[in-house]
């Protein structure tokens, strides 16, 4: 992998340095967003940036980071569903909607349940934001390619 170049020193550096860094940093922002600045929206944007960069460098034919349009649409819906699922779980546990104290898991201190609920909804937000970015990029690229071939 390290042997074959991506088409120039800029692209090599961009792919080998920026893409892994941004993906790892996005996970960091997501996990630690509860106790430090950050959160679901920021993590989604940073991870979407990493995947968009990989797509721009590797092109349409690559097998990694290549999420098809229908998959990204479905996954964006799944992100919204994960968020709503947290709300339904609290309803199932006997509480109000999105009242994380009533999540049906047994964790000893009550605020651990809140931390779990916050992590759950932030994963949902991250997936939704990341996939929406990929989705819009995909559709714009496809549209411009279609227009180019028609002329």
């Amino acid at each position: 992998m390290m042997k074959d170049p991506f088409g120039g020193i800029l692209l090599n550096i961009a792919f080998r340095l920026l893409v892994p860094f941004s993906v790892v940093y996005a996970v960091y922002v997501l996990i630690l967003g509860e106790s430090s600045p950050g959160g679901g929206f920021q993590a989604g944007v940073v991870m979407g940036f990493g995947i968009v960069l990989a797509r721009l460098i590797l092109g349409e034919e690559s097998t990694i980071f290549n999420i098809k349009l229908k998959n990204s649409l479905a996954l964006a819906g799944c992100g919204t569903f994960i968020y709503t699922m947290a709300g339904w779980l609290t309803l199932a546990g006997g509480g109000k909607f999105l009242d994380y104290s009533f999540l049906p898991f047994s964790l000893e201190p009550a605020h651990e349940l809140h931390a779990l609920g916050i992590l759950m909804i932030e994963i949902g937000v991250t997936v939704c934001v990341m996939m929406t970015i990929l989705n819009i990029m995909d559709v714009v690229v496809k549209r411009s390619e279609d227009d180019g071939s028609a002329e």
């Binding site: 964006a76 968020y83 999105l98 009550a110 605020h111 916050i118 909804i121 934001v129 989705n135 714009v140």
Partner: protein, 101 residues
């Protein structure tokens, strides 16, 4: 019809702009949100939500329902962009041949 629409829009814009003077000054400690809800959030956030970050506690826990619909709006924007920009004609009105010039 167009003049009527412009008049209504100008009237509504003027109305919205004039309502700004009734809003409290930013940072005013005597305004009503800063009287009861802000001190409660600052003092109770860590106990209630288990998160030392007040912003996250407010966004994800106290205002969780709001954030849920924000996420839904994000998803719908992506879906709308796909429906507008894609070449698929599914669900569209059939276009007449005369429309092409």
């Amino acid at each position: 019809m167009r003049g009527f629409a412009i008049t209504v829009m100008a009237l509504l814009t003027g109305l919205f702009c004039s309502s700004v003077i009734f809003l409290p000054v930013i940072g005013d400690p005597g305004s009503s949100p800063n009287q009861h809800i802000t001190p409660v959030y600052i003092s109770q956030s860590e106990l209630d939500t288990g998160s030392p970050n007040i912003v996250t506690g407010t966004l994800a826990d106290y205002r969780g329902f709001d954030t849920m619909w924000e996420t839904t709006v994000m998803f719908l924007s992506g879906l709308t962009a796909t429906l507008i920009l894609s070449k698929s004609t599914m669900g569209r009105r059939p276009e007449k041949e005369d429309d092409y010039e």
